[in-house]
């Protein structure tokens, strides 16, 4: 009976050198030193820390921050007609719209219908910008403000008045080429 020949299936195990000696010392610290080389190289560049909130990084124009609702500049009427398409597009279901009929004497929006209630729950919003894409009237856009932390969850439900109000300019916008 011939012994079984494993043939091609043999896997040779590569073992490292025995620990100890100069080679052993290098193997212990060498890689650490290689990492530290990068660290020390940055040290000469000086500090890059931005002193937030005293200092802020300017955002790009397409940055998707807190939403804004818009009015027509000439008439002052709200652009939003309360069609609820933003609510339909919203993947995290954070927009609530309750529409109502315009009073021709005292218009809120240009069409027959307007949003009587427009709420965005910013604690749920994932800032995907689908609402902006869905809007047929460019009534809602993503602004640049990203500072929305609060002490209370319910304060993060932004109402129509809050979204329509001109936001406090606290986020610098990056200029072209910057």
């Amino acid at each position: 009976m011939t012994p079984w020949n494993p043939g091609e299936d043999v896997i040779a195990v590569q073992r490292g050198p025995e620990p100890g000696g100069a080679g052993g010392a290098y193997r212990s610290f060498g890689e650490t030193l290689r990492g530290l080389k990068t660290t020390f190289a940055r040290v000469i560049e000086g500090t890059n820390t931005i002193q937030y909130p005293e200092e802020k990084v300017p955002v790009y124009p397409r940055f998707r921050g807190r939403h804004k609702l818009h009015r027509f500049e000439d008439t002052g009427l709200e652009k939003c007609v309360g069609c609820s398409l933003c609510a339909a597009a919203c993947p995290s279901d954070c927009i609530r719209v309750v529409a109502s009929e315009n009073d021709p004497e005292n218009r809120v929006s240009a069409g027959e219908r307007y949003a009587a209630v427009y709420e965005i729950n910013l604690s749920r919003c994932i800032f995907c910008g689908y609402c902006e894409i869905a809007c047929p009237f460019d009534a809602i856009t993503m602004g640049h403000d990203y500072e929305m932390s609060d002490y209370n969850r319910s304060d993060l439900i932004f109402t129509k008045e809050m979204l329509l109000a001109e936001p406090i300019d606290r986020t610098p916008l990056r200029n072209e080429g910057e």
Partner: protein, 827 residues
């Protein structure tokens, strides 16, 4: 006509062999294999297709031009192509053409998201338009009626609404004005479109041209959830889908069920949902304290009710209105019979009917279904006005007459809205229904004094003979649609015996599509009787143990002091029943009046001791029984308004306090107990009832119905002669579809609240010396109703009609359920 036999044929659709019903339309046939042919103007419910929109063009081999699939019947061996380039080109062209004048204001439009025009444009349209010229403009939105807004710019002239008005509801109000490109939907002279079924056109409209004023801008399809249930506002029990947003019902849509409602709804069913969310609704228990009703805690209200009722044990009555579910009825009858030892309970407002007759009427062989009306040879509408009593049956009768050639006969006291469709319409004196059926029985059998009986009925003897001839010669399928009113009053038994005689003479029991169909006074009238809410019958029309008093007798016993407490379930006798004076005395004499009510009505404000808030039908769980025996489920769509408790739990709590063992935790457990108690419901389970309902007559357990000991033909006794209007007038009453608290508190329906009017024939008005619109006083024995005259040429001379349950001056000031003569004089 009896149902036509359906022959299956095979035809080729897009290269596939399809088998479909011969002569059905291609659009419907294509659905069998999930091929959707886009269509705007066609709806099977509307009857004959018109091919107005041209959206459904398909290629049929052997025909050179494209054919409209909605109006091309399927024939054997037909080869149809719906996907060829020619068809696609035409579909793109038609969409482009239909959008020429469409404003595309989808974001503002109420239909957005559930709009066939949007869907079809997206699915079959070309995506662009070459039309750059100005579109046509109309003033918008306009109110077509207080319920419907019309936006003519959006209209694509599919004719659906006009066809509905002309051919389905037959109110002939909507028309297409002008011609060609200038056409627009309107009413004659711009009158508001007010009709009992008007708002169906909102659901029919394939674009946003017709929108509901009440639902306008309330929500989008993705904001809402649909919840299937049934409407409990009348015996027709239409299947509905409730549109719910944020625990509020915002809209009611039809849930097509051929065997119940045919897909239509009346405006009351469609808009009275508003009554659930108004301030007038009672949402907390009320207790009379120092002469006034005050809100109290549930514990205190229950305690007062329990102590009041148990103190009066053995001397308590119960009167039940129509909106009670079978489960509540079952618990209430146990409470009364077992807990309080009081057999005095009734759900029929007009007095008891012999138990044997109840059993004879419930005989499955003798019961007609709603569909039978459509396919009968002849239909007799007897002593009822379908449009007021069960509106959706009115449309079914019209459909039968218009499309299936049903011969319609109307026998009623008051001129009926179906008279114009009827082959024969016959008038008899109010309250003389018994004499009329006796006369008809005599004419059918050929024996007996037809002339004398017809005279007793105040009817024309020739017409009675004609009616008998019409019914006996029309064919075997005859459906008699009769109102519970016929069986009211002390001689109700005799009237029903006459009716059963007529049924046996016409052999209604032997034909499949023939039978009797009763419209009860209450929405769940049939279910309440079968659940045991009758003075002389226990659950399942069984022996009651001890016979009690019926509704009028309960009133009399309360007034006389024989009964001291009364349980009013969903009814206000002062408002709803005959003889207001008696009920006022009865309730003021009673020491304890416990009521379940949704709204405060006059009798309750005046007399109730404890009022428990009633659930709205969208909050309720339970079962209802349709007049044709179909058990249907009522399913909760919204949670209870704050402060409202499930009524069956209230009843169960009182039962428990009265010493009954109550092991129910859920409504289905009560239903189980009900099924165990009613032998002919034995085969029913909630799962099988499901969303479509189930007729108990079709289960094997129907054989368990206790049989009547005596069978038709009965020996009839001579009916009393109709009163002779010798200078005075016969008083007839009717209850309008719009009478009721739900209509009165719904903002959208407020304009329809019925006011009292005195309907007089022109001859009588002339004799009395009054004209249309004059105020008159109708008096009987000191009591008077003061209202305006409405002249109606169709009202028989010698009769005056008053409305029941109006907000003021109701007819029951003068009535007591028996025929009466009244004096009318200028006020």
């Amino acid at each position: 006509m009896p149902r036509p036999e359906q022959k299956m044929v095979t035809f080729t659709l897009d290269g596939r062999e399809v088998s479909a019903i011969e002569n059905s339309m291609l659009v419907d046939g294509a659905k069998c294999v999930d091929v959707e042919i886009p269509v705007f103007c066609y709806d099977a419910k509307l009857g004959q297709p018109v091919g107005a929109c041209r959206m459904c063009l398909v290629e049929v081999e052997g025909i050179n031009k494209l054919q409209t699939a909605c109006s091309t019947p399927i024939r054997e061996g037909m080869v149809v192509n719906t996907e060829s380039d020619r068809v696609k080109e035409s579909q793109r062209a038609v969409v482009e053409f239909l959008l020429i004048n469409h404003p595309l204001d989808c974001p503002v439009c109420d239909k957005g998201g559930e709009c066939p025009l949007q869907d079809i444009t997206f699915g079959w349209g070309g995506g662009t338009s070459r039309f750059i010229e100005p579109k046509r403009h109309f003033q918008k939105p306009l109110a077509l009626s207080p319920l419907i807004a019309i936006d003519r710019e959006r209209c694509i002239l599919c004719y659906r609404c006009v066809r509905f008005s002309q051919e389905v509801s037959e109110d002939y109000q909507l028309i297409l004005s002008e011609r060609g490109a200038h056409s627009f939907v309107s009413t004659f002279d711009g009158h508001p479109y007010v009709a009992p079924f008007s708002a169906n056109i909102v659901e029919l409209c394939p674009v946003g041209a017709l929108t509901s004023q009440a639902y306008r801008f309330r929500a989008r399809p993705w904001d809402v959830e649909g919840s299937g249930s049934i409407c409990t506002l009348c015996p027709a029990q239409c299947n509905v889908t409730l549109t719910v947003r944020d625990e509020r019902v915002l809209r009611v849509l039809g849930r097509d069920h051929d065997e119940v409602d045919d897909g239509w709804l009346c405006d009351k069913g469609r808009f009275a949902y508003q009554a659930m969310h108004v301030g007038e609704r009672i949402t907390e228990p009320l207790l009379r304290d120092g002469g006034e009703l005050r809100p109290v805690s549930w514990e205190r209200a229950l305690q007062s009710a329990i102590s009041g009722l148990t103190k009066a044990a053995g001397r308590t009555g119960a009167v039940v209105g129509g909106e009670t579910t079978n489960e509540e009825a079952f618990l209430l009858q146990r409470l009364m019979r077992e807990g309080l030892d009081s057999p005095d309970l009734d759900s029929r407002p007009g007095g008891a009917l012999a138990l044997d007759l109840h059993r004879a009427l419930a005989d499955p062989a003798l019961s007609a279904t709603v569909v039978d009306i459509e396919f009968a040879h002849a239909v007799l509408v007897l002593d009822c006005e379908p449009v007021d009593d069960a509106p959706i049956l009115d449309l079914r009768i019209r459909k039968g007459v218009r499309r299936k050639g049903v011969k319609l006969a109307v026998a009623s006291s008051r001129p009926s809205s179906l008279d114009a469709n009827a082959t024969l319409s016959l008038r008899f004196a109010p309250g003389a229904g018994e004499a009329l059926v006796a006369a008809l029985d005599a004419a059918l059998s050929g024996t007996g004094d037809v002339d004398g009986l017809a005279a007793s009925a105040g009817a024309d003897v020739d017409q009675v003979r004609e009616l008998a001839a019409l019914l006996s010669e029309a064919g075997e399928d005859v459906v008699v649609l009769w109102g519970e009113r016929l069986a009211h009053g002390p001689r109700g038994d005799h009237a029903v015996r006459g009716l059963l005689n007529v049924a046996s003479r016409l052999k209604l029991a032997s034909a499949d599509g023939a039978g009797l169909l009763e419209i009860p006074s209450g929405a769940n009238g049939r279910g309440l009787r079968e659940s045991g809410l009758l003075s002389n019958a226990g659950p399942g029309l069984g022996e009651p143990g001890r016979e009690g008093r019926d509704t009028p007798a309960i009133g009399a016993a309360l007034a006389a002091g024989d009964l001291t407490a009364v349980y009013l379930m969903h009814c206000d006798p002062v408002r709803d029943f005959q003889d207001r004076g008696l009920w006022n005395r009865a309730l003021s004499k009673a020491t304890t009046v416990v009521a379940h009510a949704g709204y405060l009505t006059e009798g309750l404000i005046e007399h109730a001791t404890v009022i428990f808030p009633a659930e709205a039908y969208a909050e309720k769980e339970g079962t209802f029984t349709h007049p044709d025996g179909r058990i249907q489920r009522l399913r909760p769509a919204i949670s209870h308004a704050r402060g409202v408790r499930p009524e069956w739990q209230v009843l169960a709590t009182i039962c428990k306090a009265a010493g009954l063992e109550m092991t129910f935790h859920t409504v289905p457990m009560v239903f189980r107990a009900l099924v165990d108690a009613v032998p002919f419901y034995a085969d029913l389970t909630l799962d099988e009832i499901g969303g479509r309902g189930m007729r108990w007559q079709q289960t094997a357990a129907a054989a368990n119905l206790p049989t009547a000991s005596d069978r038709a033909p009965y020996q009839l006794t001579a009916p009393p002669a109709a009163l002779t209007p010798n200078g005075s007038l016969r008083l007839g009453t009717y209850r309008s579809i719009w009478a009721g608290s739900e209509v009165a508190v719904s903002p959208a329906l407020k304009f329809l609240i019925p006011h009292q009017q005195v309907e007089l024939s022109p001859d009588d008005a002339k004799r009395i010396g009054v004209g249309h619109g004059d105020r008159v006083e109708v008096t009987y024995d000191g009591a008077a109703v003061n209202a305006q005259v409405t002249l109606r040429a169709a009202v028989p001379t010698g009769t005056v009609f008053l409305a029941e349950a109006t907000d003021s001056q109701p007819a029951n000031l003068l009535t007591n359920g028996e025929p009466r003569l009244v004096e009318v004089r200028p006020a």
